[in-house]
Symmetry: C2
Subunit: 431 residues, 2 copies
């Protein structure tokens, strides 16, 4: 077989971009002999040419205007690593596909928002695109869903999709750290960015969940419409109480199909200590796909980091000859099903509820009576000793109840004078 | 896009064959609208036409000679589900590829033994073959290794590859069953075959490991040359002692690369209670791939059963248009590397050693002294109370020592009169 020469253009030279260049430099000979593919980096571009980098940009052709790359005949693949759901990233996607280039991206915001538009363009111009690194870092989940989990009806897809949050929650648990200190540690070690807001508040997870939901169910969702709660409200006391009750707290993205409706949600969840998901620690991510025929498939791996993420981008590049990918990212115009979205209000499950109350006799009984009147059935309750300023923490675990019901009751509770703190509500997931 | 008609011929109508027919019947409309593929079963064949089946064979064209299917123009895909490394299975593979059919098989023995031969034929005749169901049942590990884990150098691939053994070991652990009773239970529930020899003695795991090693390292190994130990020597006492020491016993297949040599082995292994692998229970399987760039990727799913295995066969069928698969099953004639095999004697690790000794004072001290003289460093030792016929069990856990050393020492121990039972040696794996 003859060796095929392939030119790559890389836009964005941050962590993943420089990781990708290192992979290509180190492995190109091996790719040549194993796969008959000979890659060369025929164009690079970034916002700031003068920034200090650990790659020597003089070895490559520099494009001040990266869009020009999409018209350059020596470039077959455009790798977009600039981020952002619109602007340059979107323009690169469009121009690449229109000009017949293979568009590879690690950009979850772009794919979550404009995936269908990009798909339709790729069909129109008979070009293609891949986005393995957009979800799960080094975990090859996109290709697995596009090529393997295509046999039966998928019932649910869920998992730990954000390495920063998982690292913080692990450190809070293992080292008895408060949220802020665990976050600082994560930042020192490079597991959290200087501005970690989108990670902490769950938005990053929601982007990834929207992509997984599209692959699983063929639906398109605005990320802003996904129920999303972050982890900053979690306190040491919750971690400890969860442990005592046989649970670990993880940030989950969950999307599941029931009666032709898809419910998507992102929130901290109590999962059983006996579950495999509870063993997914630190910066690891996991995705579980529950298929009616293949049953549950779980994949675990590094959810972030230079090498794993660059490896996923490189896997896309090596799949340049794979022709049938786009079929499995379902277009709006050709929906195979008639699914609609389901609000979280229809969720039914157990809840963990924490509040601070006056340290006076009878308060526990009062709150319990209140729950009884509201027809919320309590499985267990705890009054803890570690009071602060005469406020003691009370913790309740409910039996199964709907979100609608619990949120109505919580509103009423907010008006009770005996409750001195904000009520913390966490969901228990039996997955 | 126009819908492509595809004819399927199925040879072998056991559990997986009938499961596959059910999947196609139930989902063909959905495949038509989702993937533009319209399947019809245009031929079936099995050893015994008259056997009672839950599918009505009159609905399909019956072939007394299944080889004739490979010459039938209305059949594009031959699905081989008869098993066996040679004979009909091999002949079907050869004739299918020579006649330009897509050959799909669930046959681990065939692929482990003749994979390279089949690959070379598929290259010569520009046809193709897939074998997703040959390893890991419903776990999409083959396609994952062929399409995704292709970026860096793989350092090791290992896992729990046999659902029968894992089910038996789980039941021994959870229900305090003896091996024979756990096996009976597994047979009653359909998790073990009437003749489970190849499962129990590790041979089934060795077949699967040989395939994974080929995909990971491009080497071909005779299954008979893989170091293979089964689980029948495991007793309740070992399960309990392992638990006490912080371990669970699982049957692992392990293949790893070190200094350009690949060591493959199948044996019961003590793995830490804190590891994710120790949570893979019952009929679940898991495969872990340790790649130098993507890091460790772990996949868990149902390792056997009608539906999961048929789903993997169907996933192969749905990938009929995927053209670049065969490149990643490395042919002998075009090796990308120069790897050789490494004997298990070079393994270095901790061992769990159990023996029965005379219930006399000083025996423990004698054995300990013996280990000392042989320069085997002991980490912990236990003399148990539950003696049978005046024989008490002694258990030793060693520090790291080579296989070569330990097997020499064990030979010497066999000659010691104080030791009244066969010595049970189990390996501790820190994965």
């Amino acid at each position: 077989m003859s060796i095929k020469k392939i030119g790559i253009g890389i836009v964005g030279l941050g962590t993943v971009g420089s990781g990708l260049i290192e992979i290509i430099q180190k492995n190109n000979n091996s790719y040549k002999s194993k796969y008959n593919l000979d890659f060369s980096i025929n164009g690079i571009s970034a916002k700031n040419k003068k920034k200090k980098r650990n790659i020597n940009i003089k070895n490559y052709k520099w494009f001040n205007d990266p869009i020009k790359m999409t018209e350059f005949s020596d470039i077959d693949i455009i790798v977009e690593l600039v981020g952002g759901s619109d602007g340059l990233a979107l323009k690169l996607a469009e121009k690449s596909l229109i000009n017949g280039k293979y568009f590879v991206t690690a950009n979850k915001a772009l794919i979550a928002k404009h995936g269908i538009k990009i798909l339709d363009l790729s069909i129109k111009y008979n070009s293609k695109f891949s986005f393995e690194a957009a979800v799960g870092g080094g975990i090859p989940i996109i290709r697995l869903m596009q090529n393997s989990m295509i046999v039966g009806k998928i019932k649910s897809v869920y998992g730990i999709l954000n390495g920063t949050c998982n690292y913080i929650l692990t450190k809070m648990r293992e080292n008895n750290l408060q949220f802020n200190n665990a976050l600082k540690k994560a930042q020192q070690l490079g597991f959290a960015e200087a501005n970690p807001e989108d990670d902490i508040n769950g938005v990053d997870t929601a982007y990834k969940l929207a992509i997984l939901s599209n692959l699983a169910f063929g639906i398109t969702t605005k990320v802003s419409e996904i129920f999303t709660e972050g982890i900053s409200k979690i306190e040491e006391i919750d971690i400890k109480m969860a442990e005592k009750l046989g649970y670990k707290i993880v940030l989950l993205g969950i999307s599941n199909l029931k009666n032709n409706k898809v419910m998507q949600r992102v929130h901290p969840s109590l999962v059983s200590n006996n579950s495999m998901i509870s063993k997914v620690n630190n910066e690891l991510n996991t995705i579980i796909i529950d298929d009616e025929i293949a049953d549950k498939i779980m994949v675990v791996g590094k959810g972030a980091g230079k090498k794993p993420t660059s490896a996923s981008v490189m896997a896309d590049i090596l799949n340049i000859n794979d022709e049938n990918k786009k079929k499995f990212f379902v277009s709006k115009s050709k929906k195979a099903n008639n699914l609609s979205s389901q609000d979280i209000s229809k969720r039914e499950g157990k809840f963990y509820i924490r509040m601070g109350v006056d340290d006076k006799p009878g308060v526990l009984a009062d709150i319990t009576l209140f729950f009884k009147k509201q027809k919320i059935s309590i499985k267990s309750m705890f009054q803890l000793d570690d009071k602060v300023k005469n406020i003691v923490p009370l913790i309740f675990v409910t039996h199964k109840v709907t979100e609608k019901k619990i949120s109505l009751v919580l509103k009423k509770m907010d008006a009770l004078k005996k409750i001195k703190t904000k009520i913390v509500l966490l969901r228990i997931e039996e997955l």
